[in-house]
């Protein structure tokens, strides 16, 4: 978090820098114009000044910017020379980035989009990198006589398709603001820029790239479905309510996708469900392997989602079977989800159980007590649970939920009587 804040501060400083850019340009422009001052009667482009600036060129220059906590490398796009304009117009510059690390079968670079983690450095309707600056109206023959910073890239904030050493191509475009070219995902789709330049640099990324992230996300979702089916079979069969819970979860995932991707993903999910169902019915759900893999590829959010879906299955039929409770406790523990968050989510399901705690319950499973714990550890755990459920029995507005909270208090008190006293 500190790093993000620091980057935000650096960006703020850069934006301040851009504010100075225009005044710097005016100064440079004035210097260029001094070779032949324009008059009010002259139209731009009427005549060439004698001290004409050379055509504009651009370059990339790495610069270390020191923030409060640590330093950042900024790749500055600098420009020098005469603006590439046929007449006076509103001039803009944009920088897009493509990852050109990977080569196609012919050994040519295969450009791939690059995402920016900073909202201020994204295309208007995608998350791909773009930096754009507009200079306002510039006159013919104006330009910069010295290297001037126009755009910038903070490599650390780029998200390439994959991690490791990545080669980037920075495409710089000069354009007429009134006839803007269309750039999507870093590719020039439409329009004619006034000039283009390309530069390259290499940066090493330690974190997963967006393709890797997307692949892992998809695999995580498949694993979550497999785990959910396995969870549904914990008591021997998948009940209608449990099946409906899994189906709803998949439907919600599909709803998040663009229509063009939905059918394919639906088929993939269905295939996963069939495999998982067959395996679970054959008693080979392989939950252990699923959990291990999910822990490997799933981020905290995916792991918590898996646990929440398992909890939904646990409470789907309004009953919390001991075997299901044990299973979900074990899943949460092995997936290493946040304990507080897990217990909170579990509690929410437990209060919703319509009479699901009636009769004898296994307090070890329901209260998540480890049989290896000693007396003091159990006592402290029960005290904590008691404090929480006692408060809930007071605050819950729904009478059924309140009754369920009171039943939980009974279970906790019985556990204390049997295990501590």
């Amino acid at each position: 978090m500190e790093g993000i804040i620091a980057v935000a501060i650096v960006l703020a400083l850069l934006n301040i820098g851009f504010a100075f850019l225009r005044s710097q340009w005016k100064t440079s422009g004035d210097a260029a114009l001094s070779a032949r001052p324009q008059t009010a009667s002259q139209r731009p482009g009427d005549a060439k000044p004698s001290g004409l600036l050379p055509p504009m060129e651009t370059r990339l220059r790495a610069e270390e910017v020191t923030g409060k906590h640590h330093s950042y490398i900024v790749q500055r796009v600098e420009a020098k020379g005469r603006f590439p304009i046929p007449e006076a117009l509103k001039l803009g510059f944009t920088a897009s980035i493509l990852d050109v690390t990977e080569l196609d079968d012919e050994g040519k670079p295969r450009p791939i989009a690059v995402v920016s983690s900073l909202e201020d450095y994204q295309e208007s309707d995608t998350t791909c990198f773009e930096d754009r600056q507009e200079l306002g109206v510039v006159q013919l023959y104006q330009g910069w006589s010295s290297w001037t910073s126009v755009l910038s890239v903070i490599p650390e904030t780029l998200v390439p398709p994959r991690k490791g050493d990545r080669k980037y191509q920075v495409n710089v475009l000069a354009y007429d603001v009134d006839r803007q070219p269309t750039v999507r995902h870093g590719f020039l789709l439409d329009g004619e820029p006034l000039a283009t330049w390309a530069h390259e640099f290499v940066w090493k990324h330690e974190s997963d790239g967006w393709q890797e992230h997307s692949e892992k996300r998809r695999e995580s979702e498949e694993l979550i479905v497999r785990l959910a089916v396995a969870m549904g079979f914990v008591d021997g069969s998948l009940h209608d309510a449990e099946a409906a819970t899994i189906r709803q979860w998949i439907a919600r995932r599909l709803d998040l996708l663009r229509p063009e991707y939905r059918d394919k993903q639906k088929q993939e999910f269905n295939e996963v469900v069939k495999q998982a169902y067959a395996a679970a019915r054959a008693g080979k759900a392989g939950a252990s392997g699923i959990i291990d893999r999910l822990k490997e590829v799933g981020d905290a959010s995916a792991r918590m989602e898996a646990v929440e879906l398992c909890l939904d299955i646990l409470s789907a039929d309004g009953q919390a079977a001991d075997a299901e409770l044990k299973a979900v406790n074990a899943i949460a523990q092995r997936l290493d989800v946040d304990v507080e968050q897990f217990e909170q989510q579990k509690d929410k399901r437990l209060v919703d159980l319509a009479g699901g705690l009636n009769g004898e319950v296994d307090c070890y499973a329901l209260l998540n007590i480890d049989r290896k714990w000693g007396r003091d550890q159990i006592k402290a755990h029960l005290n904590r649970l008691y404090g929480r459920w006692n408060a809930r029995a007071e605050s819950l507005a729904d009478p059924e939920e309140r009754a369920q909270a009171e039943r939980m208090l009974e279970v906790i008190a019985t556990a204390r009587k049997d295990l501590v006293s």
Binding site: S301, K348, Y386, G387, R388, A391, R416, K417, S421
Partner: protein, 507 residues
């Protein structure tokens, strides 16, 4: 001069005490001459009147559907009872008990215009407000409410010098409160309180009933049916016998057997109620945990409430704290007596005579916030997902008065209103589903065209009368919303709709 009155409005019994002219608190017996009045209401068959207290209780066996008790447990939820097809709210039933106490006292002591009423330490805001309303319905001006353990400690420290870190174990008919306080002479500083409003003597009575029923069915070979079988005494009376004897003889009349005598031992009773004691232990443990104390840190344990007479309670507490608990006053009366002292303590000086002034001037009390108070806001959770969350502003056990300001921010550009709420919880709870929202509204309209992240400053100020002043301010525009939440404003106007239907004496 106005009588200074304290009332213990209990789940099973209620009592009234006054601060007499010498500054000494004393219980005022009711019209029947009893120091405590059963909190029981009976609706006469013709619907013309009600009776309250022992007379009402005596009707319970014959007219169980017209006799109401334990309604204090429903003060927060306000779940009504039905009599003659009409609904009667717990607040209305409580008002009838208060009315009897006040009328009985007025006959002996003159007009009572104001009183202090006690409530369990963990009573919610709604229950506190309902208690005040009950007083108002009984034509009583409730000057203050005070927590029962605090009132008891007030009296204990008045009665005998107390010092150190003490526990007040208030085990009444319907609730158990455990409070921890630092006391030096008559200076009482509350550290924390916790309560279980679902644990009291009546739960032990029910367990004893179950034991009796099971024993009967096992020995008589027939099912115990309340319509055909009758106990010789109430379970509560058998429970009382078991506090002094190791066994009691229970007589059951009716059914196939006609008349049967059963022997129930104290051991059987204690086994059946072990889970209840375990619940009580959990409350003690979690209260000590909250205060960061161990049993050895406690210098004295004071007993309050009739249920502390059960030997298993005192034995258990002695085992828990390593010292015998203290009970040198009547545990049924100590709360009312303490409330009467508090009535003097909180009264205007002009309402006190020199003797009374002398008694209360040496007393000091530091109360704390009994709950966490917060507001609902949007936050990112541990996995980065955005969720609604309860954000605590005033911590439980903060000494009163207190005030705290926290900044919050609008979440989206162009946001023109902010949903605002005040929440209450007994634990540091983040999940909005598990907190009680005691007020909600909105702040707006906010100026148009603004970016996200505009600061909304929220200030909660909680005073010694347990009234919380809340201020929500949009910092940039200066738009503010201020509300007072507490015993004077918590009930909606509609919550007492239809109350006239039962206020027979108002006709």
């Amino acid at each position: 001069m106005t009588a200074l009155v304290g009332i213990d409005l209990g789940t099973t019994n209620s009592a009234l005490a006054i601060l007499d002219q010498t500054g000494r608190p004393e219980i005022v017996p009711n019209a029947e001459g009893d120091h405590v009045t059963p909190s029981v209401v009976f609706f006469e068959l013709d619907g013309s009147a009600t009776s309250v207290g022992q007379a009402a209780k005596d009707n319970a066996i014959v007219y169980p559907d017209r006799v109401f008790h334990e309604f204090k447990r429903s003060m927060a939820t306000n779940v009504p009872v039905t009599v003659d097809g009409q609904q009667v709210a717990p607040v209305e039933l409580s008002s009838l008990v208060l009315r009897k106490l006040v009328e009985d006292t007025s006959e002996r002591k003159g007009e009572i215009r104001g009183a202090v009423i006690t409530v369990p330490a963990n009573f919610t805001n709604e229950a506190r407000v309902a208690t005040i309303k009950a007083g108002e319905l009984a034509s009583l001006r409730v000057t203050h409410i005070i927590n029962e353990p605090t009132a008891a400690l007030f009296y204990y420290s008045y009665h005998k010098p107390v010092s150190g870190t003490v526990v007040v174990y208030d085990f009444g008919g319907g609730t158990l409160d455990v409070s921890i306080a630092r006391v030096s002479g008559k200076n009482v500083e509350i550290v924390t309180s916790k309560g279980d409003p679902r644990l009291g003597g009546i739960d032990f009575d029910r367990k004893l009933s179950e034991v009796i029923r099971r024993t009967f069915e096992a020995s008589a070979g027939e099912k115990f049916d309340e319509r055909t079988h009758q106990l010789g005494k109430t379970p509560k009376e058998y429970k009382k016998q078991l506090t002094t004897r190791n066994e009691c003889a229970v007589q059951i009349v009716g059914g196939k057997t006609g008349r049967k005598i059963l022997t129930i031992t104290r051991q059987e009773f204690e086994t059946a109620t072990a889970t209840l004691i375990s619940k009580a232990d959990l409350l003690v443990d979690s209260t000590l945990d909250e205060a960061g104390l161990r049993p050895a840190d406690i210098t004295q344990v004071f007993l309050v409430g009739g249920s502390t007479r059960m030997p298993m309670v005192t034995t258990h507490l002695e085992k828990l704290f390593g010292k015998p608990p203290v009970c040198h006053v009547n545990p049924d009366e100590v709360v009312a007596l303490g409330a009467a002292l508090y009535a003097g303590f909180s009264a205007d000086e002009k309402d006190l005579n020199p003797a009374q002034k002398s008694v209360v001037s040496s007393m000091e009390l530091q109360e704390v916030a009994n709950h966490f108070f917060g507001t609902i806001c949007q936050t990112g959770d541990a996995t980065g997902r955005q969720r609604l969350s309860n954000s605590i502003i005033i911590e439980k056990n903060t000494p009163l008065p207190c005030s705290k300001t926290e900044p919050y921010y609008t979440v989206r550009p162009g946001q023109q209103a902010v949903d605002i709420s005040v929440t209450q919880s007994a634990t540091r709870e983040e999940d909005p589903d598990f907190v009680r929202t005691i007020w909600e509204g909105s702040l707006g309209p906010l100026p148009e065209g603004r970016p996200a992240n505009m600061e909304i400053r929220v200030t909660y100020s909680y005073d010694t009368n347990q009234i919380m002043h809340c201020r929500f301010e949009d910092v940039a525009s200066g738009l503010t919303k201020e509300i007072d939440i507490g015993v004077k404003s918590g009930l909606t106007d509609t919550s007492l709709e239809g109350v006239d239907r039962i206020l027979i004496d108002d006709e």
